[in-house]
Amino acid sequence: MADILFIGLSLSSILLLIALGLAITYGAMGVINMAHGELVMIGAYTAVLSGIYLNFNMFVALPLAFVTAAAVGLLIEKLVIRRLYGRIIDTLLATWGVAILLQQAIRLQFGATFFDVTVPGLGPGLQNIDVPSFLNQPFDVAGFTVQPYRTFIIAVTLLLAALTWYLFYRTRIGMQVRAIMRNPDMAASCGIDVRRVSALTFAYGSGLAGVAGVLLAGFKTVQPDMGASVVVDGFLVVVVGGVGSLLGTGLAALLLGQINGIVAVLSNDIVARAVVFGVVIVLIMWRPNGLFSFKNR
């Protein structure tokens, strides 16, 4: 039983990892960021490339991927999203276009393909990263097999969730972000620099996606379109949890991950996926605004 719960917990942590960044960009800023998956992909490629060219291991790649993805996120915000705040459907289309651009940039090796140059680590092929060997060797504790890599992912996820919570609820900038979430015009009239704070928030959410990318690269293949599938799961969690609620996002990830894990072990993964979607439909019908949503006045 413990190992089934562990699988569920591991699935939850991966969901939360993806959803945390989205909870901020979508939940807090009202941007349907279809390029979120591509920011995950960029994080993964940062790990691959820094491994090949700089000999960095995964742990060094984690902060590096955060910075890279945050920088790309900042750029997207400045160039595209800045002009589209408040137009939620337009952000969906625009960021989808950005997603395709990013995918192709990696696939075409930033254009090097046209000059017959191959850059190892880029291009349409499959890449992988080396996981430090001590994270690959499971060990037994009282009859329960501990998988170090999945445990590591859970730990990093909890750490990031705690950090995000601290930033949002215990710092000055977090208070400003929450003010903007509730009512941007009122926040602006109170002297908050809405543009600057929004840009930083978006960059932070993007950076979290980059970290998720490194961790996913440890057990998935890294390829240009790896982000497309994870982004759907991310939105699922954010919507069920309640837009704008960190606690809701966390609980939704835990719930959906456990349902997925338990059904997958008892039946199979295809049924599990159907059950998860079924639960999401019922939850949204029951609480259209998600499990936790603040009341607007």
Binding site: I7, Y149, T221
Partner: protein
């Protein structure tokens, strides 16, 4: 930097543009009697391009070599490269274009069964010819396709008995991706397992592209099996092997025996995750013959990548062009779909994997089954191989045997199914 046409085609990922240009370049020349146009149709973009691009390269390599050596019966082969874009519908359109507009007598192409099924009506309606290089599930009998990859009996009839006798494993956990190929492979496997006195404890499927293997590997562990037979394809393979090791399972005690895991997947997952596991294919990069080493060098020079890996479908893409050349020559240099089909029957060629022969009845290839164990360097060590190529039996899951063929020159005997 100078760019000739082939280089441009090869290097540019703007294959869309290349495809748009191609007709205007070739249409005029195609009719010239000193040239034979052929279609080369693989996915150069999209998810499957990772593998299919290499098949396209191998095909173009063979064409270049044949042209350099004087062509086919004195005629130059002119490849018309099309991009299937990992999409069966696009495949269908491109096949129609090659057959109707470019009037090619043969198309080399398709990787997945889905793409082959999508183009089949085009070739059958127009009485044209497709050379298909991938191992596939069998259960097809068309006068308009020459199949040069392995069918289930050429991958499994050696593998399952070998697992039971040499590894002493009797309890199989069968796992695959959820589509026709793994399901047909499982069907054949079960027949062979039961014949050998073994049993299968589970037959499980996951979505194509599924990458979360936690629950499935847990079930493998709980099932009490002593060997895993994997028909998992694509990037799921990588996530599967990684999870397998991460959950503390070992190929020493519970080996994964796979029918699809090739050099490409091994390179992508990191060799240490597959070290000790087994795969059955007629071709491995590690075949230590002069012919294969030379092929590997030529292929690597052609794609300008010293680390490029070769695998079964890639090798088939290469040698099937040579078989085609011999068929055209057997027909006296006249290249029409009918003459090539007649010419290809019984045609034999010394491919990098050894001798291959096209069965005159069902137009599939005689291939030599081999089993390799993967090492820490990402290469297989061939630990079992047949002395001779064996007959292809595309309907083996339905009781077809060498002396009792369901698929013959006269077509499929549907009463037998």
């Amino acid at each position: 930097m100078s760019m000739n046409r082939r280089k441009f085609l090869k290097s540019s990922s703007l294959y869309g543009a290349a495809a748009a240009l191609a007709p205007s370049i070739y249409a005029g020349t195609a009719k010239a009697s000193s040239e034979i146009p052929v279609g080369v149709m693989f996915s150069l973009t999209g998810g499957l391009s990772i593998v299919e691009k290499t098949l396209s390269d191998a095909t173009l390599l063979a064409i270049e070599e044949i042209n350099a050596a004087g062509g086919v019966a004195g005629k130059e082969i002119v490849p018309i490269v099309e991009d299937g874009a990992s999409d069966p519908k696009t495949y269908n359109e491109k096949a129609s274009k090659l057959v109707l507009r470019d009037r090619v007598p043969t198309v080399f192409g398709c990787y997945t069964s889905a793409s082959r099924k999508a183009v089949l009506p085009v070739f059958e309606r127009r009485q044209n010819l497709l050379f298909y290089p991938t191992y596939y599930e069998g259960f097809e009998c068309s006068k308009n396709v020459v199949y040069t990859g392995a069918v289930p009996n050429q991958q499994l009839s050696n593998f399952i008995p070998w697992i039971m006798e040499n590894l002493g494993k009797k309890k199989f956990f069968i796992v695959g991706s959820n589509y026709i190929y793994p399901r047909e492979m499982a069907k054949v496997s079960k027949i062979l397992i039961e014949q050998g006195g073994g049993e299968w404890v589970a037959d499980e499927y996951l979505e194509l592209g599924h990458s979360e293997w936690g629950a499935m590997v847990n079930r493998i562990q709980e099932s009490g099996c002593d060997v895993v037979l994997s028909n998992v394809v694509g990037d799921s393979v990588i996530a599967f092997y990684r999870e397998f090791i991460n959950q503390g399972l070992s190929h020493d005690t519970l080996p994964i025996c796979a029918t699809v895991t090739s050099e490409i997947e091994i390179a992508a997952m990191g060799a240490e995750f597959a070290a000790g596991s087994y795969t059955s294919f007629p071709y491995f990069q590690a075949i230590p013959t002069e012919a294969n080493l030379s092929f590997l060098d030529r292929y690597r020079a052609f794609v300008k990548d010293d680390a490029a890996v070769t695998q079964h479908a890639l090798e088939c893409s290469y040698f099937q062009v040579y078989l085609w050349k011999q068929a055209v020559e057997a027909a006296g240099g006249e290249a029409t779909p009918d003459t090539i089909r007649e010419g290809i029957k019984g045609q034999t060629f010394d491919a990098p994997n050894g001798r291959v022969t096209i069965d005159p009845e069902n137009l599939h290839a005689y291939l030599t089954p081999r089993i390799a164990q993967w090492g820490g360097d990402g290469q297989g060590t061939i630990i079992d191989e047949y002395d001779e190529p064996i007959q292809p039996l595309p309907y083996v899951a339905y009781g077809e045997t060498g002396s009792d063929l369901f698929c013959t020159q006269d077509g499929l005997d549907t009463a037998r199914l």
